[in-house]
């Protein structure tokens, strides 16, 4: 055997390093590749934390909403952006998270710190339940099926009146001795949503560079080829769906506590899902920063319009969505990245990209 062939044979055997080797390898790969991103995230987190000291409660509420959408967008991006299974039923997990929390806190006087993990578990269970049959569908069909599942979930919750209060809504006790957990208040929720947003971005970043991340992209690009390489496509899809559900359910739990009182139509509102999708696509789907930018940008824009333009705000918002889709179809983040790389900024090229 020539040396070349011998080395090929060795390659085929596969190296099996010791445990220690593997751990040091893992640590080294973390710090080297991700230091810039991690530093940026920490800096952003610190900045937001500091911001809390100087802003008014109203702005705090506004920013809490922004943070929530960042988390929701990151959640959607995991199943829709990375794995390519665009779910139109994410709001189901939001609603399940919200109602699990509310029911546990209201009916069983559970503390929020028990209700929230339970909400996450509920979301994950539902994701696995509907994911196993539905993830066999592709594209539009998966989108509609998940939409249907979300609508169905809402109806079920709506009709379970003895437990959930049905159409009359549900209330979380927050006063005095009735309250299982003291209400967080605006600064508290600001912090809570900020933590959730940061955690979701961090999780997304870790996943993107991990083995699982490559598996997700492979499943997105070509399931047959992915399977032939040893990737269990069913597991990847269901896990991605479950992770995204967990994030969304957690957001739902916090939202429920924040709102105190809500109806099924509030937390199972399909426009939440559409918003999530818009934010990710406009920001740049399949990237880590894209959903962050898209969510923050769009929510801030939406709030600004609501405050300053009153009745016209939705109209302008719609027009802006149309404009962004036409001018930045690949998402703002990818546009900037490509423009940076090729040192050319051409909107006209962008418009021509996808047209007939």
């Amino acid at each position: 055997m020539s040396t070349e062939t011998a080395s090929l044979a060795a390659l085929l055997e596969g190296r099996r390093g010791s445990r220690n080797e593997q751990v040091t390898e893992w640590l080294r790969s973390r710090t080297l590749a991700n230091s810039w991103g991690a530093a940026a995230l920490v800096a952003l987190f610190a900045a937001m934390l500091g911001l809390e000291q100087v802003i008014e409660p109203g702005t705090m509420r506004l920013l809490s909403a922004v943070f929530m959408f960042v988390a929701l967008a990151q959640g959607w991006n995991i199943i829709g952006g990375f794995t390519g299974y665009a779910s139109f039923g994410q709001v189901a997990f939001f609603g399940i998270g919200a109602y699990t929390t509310a029911v546990l806190m209201n009916n069983y006087h559970a503390s929020f710190w028990i209700a929230m993990p339970a909400a996450i578990v509920g979301g994950v269970l539902f994701a696995v339940l509907i994911g196993l049959p539905l993830l066999r569908l592709r594209g539009h069909y998966f989108a509609i099926a998940t939409l249907g599942a979300a609508e169905g979930a809402r109806e079920v919750v709506n009709n379970m009146t003895p437990i959930t209060g049905g159409g009359l809504g549900i209330t979380i006790p927050t006063f005095g001795s009735q309250a299982p957990t003291a209400y967080f208040g605006k600064p508290g929720f600001y912090l809570a949503f900020l933590l959730l947003a940061t955690a979701s971005v961090a999780l997304s970043a870790v996943l993107a560079r991990s083995r699982f991340g490559y598996a997700m992209v492979a499943v997105h690009e070509d399931e047959a080829a992915a399977g032939a390489l040893g990737i269990n496509t069913t597991t990847v899809k269901v896990v991605a769906f479950a992770v995204s559900a967990a994030i969304v359910a957690c957001a739902g739990a916090l939202y429920a506590f924040q709102q105190i009182e809500f109806y099924p139509t509030d937390v199972f509102d399909s426009s939440f899902t559409v918003l999530m999708v818009i934010m990710v696509v406009i920001g740049g789907s399949g990237s880590v920063v894209g959903p962050l930018v898209g969510a923050a940008g769009l929510e801030l824009l939406s709030q600004y319009l609501r405050i300053n333009l009153g009745t016209y705000n939705q109209l302008i918002f719609g027009a802006i969505v149309v404009a962004v889709v036409v001018f930045f179809p690949q998402g703002v983040v990818n546009f900037v990245r490509d423009a940076w790389r090729s040192r050319r900024l051409s909107l006209l090229d962008n418009i021509r990209r996808y047209r007939l």
């Binding site: 055997m1 020539s2 070349e4 062939t5 011998a6 080395s7 090929l8 044979a9 390659l11 085929l12 055997e13 596969g14 190296r15 099996r16 390093g17 593997q22 390898e25 893992w26 080294r28 790969s29 560079r209 991990s210 083995r211 490559y214 598996a215 992209v217 492979a218 997105h220 690009e221 070509d222 047959a224 080829a225 992915a226 399977g227 032939a228 390489l229 040893g230 990737i231 269990n232 496509t233 399949g286």
Partner: protein, 245 residues
């Protein structure tokens, strides 16, 4: 026997794409599979590697029944295949494409970094390391085939199915590919090659199996098979076969 196939069959509605196919492959062999278009060659590979479920029959790898297993289970049994129409992951670089195989296949690399290193070595082996950071869309046909092969190799197979890798290659490229296949066999991989390019299949195969309309027509050494009248008839028609023999 690394691979044994017994009475394998698959129907689509009323059509039997593969019927009553039985053969075995010894470790270290290179077996060629030829046949006219539509003979069922790729279907056969799909049946063995789990992309399709057999309607009848059994597939045994190292004596274990793996019939009907999902593709990833087959990959973990050290069986790999290339796709006739190459399927690269377009959003990833060439290196990342191969690394994905290295980190998920049998005897996989434990970390992403190791997988990248494995990928680099495989890219060098097949001859496209200069394109490691390129996007698959930018590759030439020959390079795209090499990428497809590297991906399959990344899963560290002991048995490799290659599906028409020579199609559209120029003679020097065919020679390079032939040399590579021989080196793979020397390194311990058993190879089953589906091919149309006769010159290539003749020079690499120890044995050739001829498929026709889903069943095995004839099998034997390259010289035997390619001189067989039935084979000529199936490829070139009755009259030509008459004239040749």
């Amino acid at each position: 026997m690394i691979l044994e196939v017994r009475n394998l069959a698959r129907r689509f509605g009323g059509v039997w794409a593969v019927r009553n196919v039985s053969f075995s492959v010894e470790e270290g062999e290179i077996v060629g599979v030829i046949g006219p278009n539509g003979a069922g060659k790729t279907t056969l590979v799909n049946l063995i590697t789990g992309q399709l479920r057999p309607s009848e029959g059994q597939v045994m790898i190292d004596g274990r029944d793996v019939t009907g297993q999902r593709p990833w289970a087959i990959a973990h049994d050290c069986v790999a295949r290339t796709f006739q129409i190459v399927k690269p992951f377009r959003g990833l670089t060439v290196r990342e494409n191969v690394a994905t195989g290295a980190m998920h296949g049998s005897r996989r690399d434990r970390t992403v970094r190791e997988a990248m290193a494995t990928a680099d070595r495989l890219l060098e082996l097949v001859g496209i390391s200069h394109r490691a950071s390129a996007a698959p869309a930018e590759l030439s046909v020959a390079d795209a085939r090499r990428l497809e092969l590297a991906k399959a190799l990344a899963t560290r197979p002991r048995l490799l199915f290659i599906d028409e890798v020579m199609a559209g290659l120029r003679p020097p490229e065919i020679d390079a590919a032939t040399g590579l296949i021989h080196r793979l066999r020397d390194a311990g991989i058993t190879i089953v090659a589906i091919e149309h390019v006769m010159k290539a299949i003749r020079s690499i195969s120890d044995r050739i199996i001829v498929l026709h309309q889903g069943s095995i027509l004839v099998s034997g050494t390259p010289d035997e098979v390619l001189a067989d009248r039935r084979v000529i008839e199936v490829y070139l028609g009755h009259r030509f076969a008459q004239r040749q023999t």
